[in-house]
């Protein structure tokens, strides 16, 4: 089940080959992004609609940039000022933009499952999930594993694509924080585990999802004991806008028990990578200075958003072989 010519709703069920195809394609687009003319004609004449029902800076910008660099036409619906404000249903909005002749829709929605629902409404349009509620954020998961592979491969003087999935074999990933409400955690875990990494999660019990015991991860009670174990520290955003505050006694206590403070950071191995999907709550899940430390690859994650989303748009919309670029 390659992502070629399909909607990308979730990373669940994708094989290592499916994931590597996206990563390798993205790698070829990194090069495009370094050119002075950062544009290829891969999606010329195609129309990509960008439909964000939730506020977003980086995801929206990086999707729209990706589409434009592939020469697609971008229809950007500003939900806040559209007929959605007048009570138009998701189905009617989708029907309206489909009538304009679109090839793909990039959807961000506050409701889990919204992307799958839209995919049912418009079976001939490729739907790319740019984050649905607390469910999945596939392109974030992809850019996270892409970033890890890129950096680890470079340390060995190789390109990521030359290493396949080998660098994930036995890789230790420690995910910290609000797993329960995090769509990034669900996509990250699917990607890391499929590629062969070992994942531990550390969080207060109230921030773990129900049924976590059936997930392919190990829950650890103490963050401290796993800090030295980790090759990758994947921090998650404490989503105060989703009322996460009620799940812990206070933000200060969360920081004291699960925050990546300077003191805890000292226990992390020097070659480990510190990641965060942003936007960062500095001083809550991560100390401000640690966020800017050399181990932190947060800005690299942001930079890789564009090539990953170019790869996803290219594969899902054009569905063509890489050689036809």
């Amino acid at each position: 089940m390659s992502v070629r010519g399909q909607s990308l709703l979730s990373l669940r069920g994708l094989t290592p080959e499916d994931l590597l195809e996206v990563l390798d394609t993205a790698e070829s687009f990194v090069e495009v992004n370094r050119r002075s003319v950062k544009k290829v004609p891969a999606l010329r004449g195609r129309v990509v609609a960008s439909l964000f029902y939730e506020e977003s800076t980086r995801t929206r910008l990086s999707f729209e940039t990706a589409a434009k660099r592939l020469s697609a036409d971008v229809l950007s619906l500003a939900v806040a000022s559209s007929s959605v404000k007048k009570g138009e249903s998701l189905r009617d909005t989708i029907a309206t933009i489909e009538a304009l002749g679109i090839d793909a829709v990039v959807l961000r929605h506050r409701a889990s499952g919204a992307a799958e629902q839209v995919a049912r409404y418009v079976p001939h349009v490729r739907v790319i999930n740019a984050g649905d509620g607390q469910h999945q954020h596939p392109t974030q998961g992809l850019l996270d594993v892409f970033t890890v592979r890129q950096i680890l491969a470079a340390r060995r003087g190789a390109r990521g694509s030359e290493t396949g999935a080998a660098l994930f074999e036995g890789l230790h990933v420690l995910m910290v924080g609000d797993i329960r409400h995090s769509r990034v955690a669900r996509s990250d875990i699917d990607a890391y585990v499929a590629l062969g990494a070992t994942v531990r999660v550390a969080a207060p019990p109230t921030l773990l999802p129900p049924g976590i015991e059936t997930w392919p991860v190990t829950v650890v009670d103490s963050l401290r004991d796993s800090l030295e174990w980790a090759d990758v520290l994947a921090l998650l955003r404490l989503q105060q806008e989703r009322g996460t505050g009620r799940f812990v006694p206070s933000l200060a206590e969360f920081t004291a028990t699960f925050g990546l403070t300077q003191e805890r950071f000292a226990l992390v191995r020097p070659e480990a990578l510190v990641m965060h999907p942003g936007p960062i709550n500095r001083g809550i899940e991560i100390d401000a200075a640690v966020a800017d430390a050399p181990a932190s690859v947060i800005t690299r994650q942001v930079a890789n958003g564009v090539p990953i989303r170019m790869a996803v748009l290219f594969l899902t919309v054009a569905g063509a072989r890489e050689g036809e670029l």
Binding site: A111, S112, E116, Q117
Partner: protein
Amino acid sequence: MKVLIRQGLVVGRETRVADVLVIDGKVREIGPGLAARGAEVVDAEGCWVGPAFVDLHAHLREPGHEDAETIESGARAAAVGGYGAVIAMPNTEPPLDSVAAVGYVLEAGRRALVDVGAAAAITVGRRGENLTPMAELAAIGVRLFTDDGVAVRDAAVLRRALAYARPLGVRVAEHAEDPDLVAEGVMNEGVWSGRLGLTGRPAVAELVTVLRDLELAREVGAPIHFLHVSTAAALAAIVSARRGGVDVSAEIAPHHFTLDESACEHYDANFKVNPPLRTPADVAALRRGLREGEIDAVATDHAPHAPEAKDQPFDEAPAGVLGLEHAAALTFEALGAESAEPTRFFAVLSRRPAALAGLAEHGGWVEAGETANLVVFDPQATWTVDRDRLHSRARNTPYHGRAMRGRARTTLVRGTVVAHEGEIA
């Protein structure tokens, strides 16, 4: 007006194959080879002839949400489903919390195809504070009081309701889910909710409310009814309390004993109900309870919603599914289909719910002299649910496309054929 039902398996004090002659709304005679002269003949060979079904729990949406259902359309769906009587739930707009509001429903019900009774709210506005005029409501025929949709949050209010209801001969009925524990939940809390990123309604929310209510009913010495019991643990608590002497009755809904939480996998709001679809173990426990006689009634929790309301993201769509037109087939299947006992089948679909609703003309054995509220149920019939051919105004069935076994062939209300072969007569 004469109807002759021929050659059916007549479910009475003794169950036997016979003809049933109905004249002027009453069962006149039961026996072999009765004369058909001047009578409308209903062929019932291979069918069960029993008391028409009685639904304790139907949301007829009137007044307030006539876009989803009306008393008239809900009664049509009921007739086709084999029902002779339905109890309308009080969570309308305005809610059925006054003599005037209940009177409106009963009046509209007199013009409907089947008998329509009403449950009234326990508290004014279903706000969980002041009791409704329960004595006046009992005087116009209300036997069940419920704030269905939500449990009574304040234990003191529920205790007061139980005490006030006791001498009236009426029953307080709870939607047993602790409102604080369910909070904003939209499906069963568990492996599936965690994976799908949907907020859960934990099973323990049902259990803690059932346990609280059972103890209050025990202390007050009042009867209590639990609506749509959905978990193995709550059912076990009810059975245990009943053995301990509490006057407790329980209904279960077909969707809870035929579907589990995995049905929510694709975020289709036609599988969103409160209480939510539970685990396969809960489904198995409810089916076992049904077969072993621990359940008083199968009640539909028929909950129509307009298509555009259901066609929203899962956590924004309203909860509830249709039930009246497929409940009998699903009950038949859960009781073992060909091995199902007709007496058990009619006990949960008609006799016991009629007694709980205080409907004297319903739920009797098929015997000479009884009011002819009857159903001819064909256990051999096979059919497929088609949401576009249901008689409800709404289409929100979770069973679209599902093959069913067993169907009400003919429904009689006071001796008149009101539905036949899936259509209004």
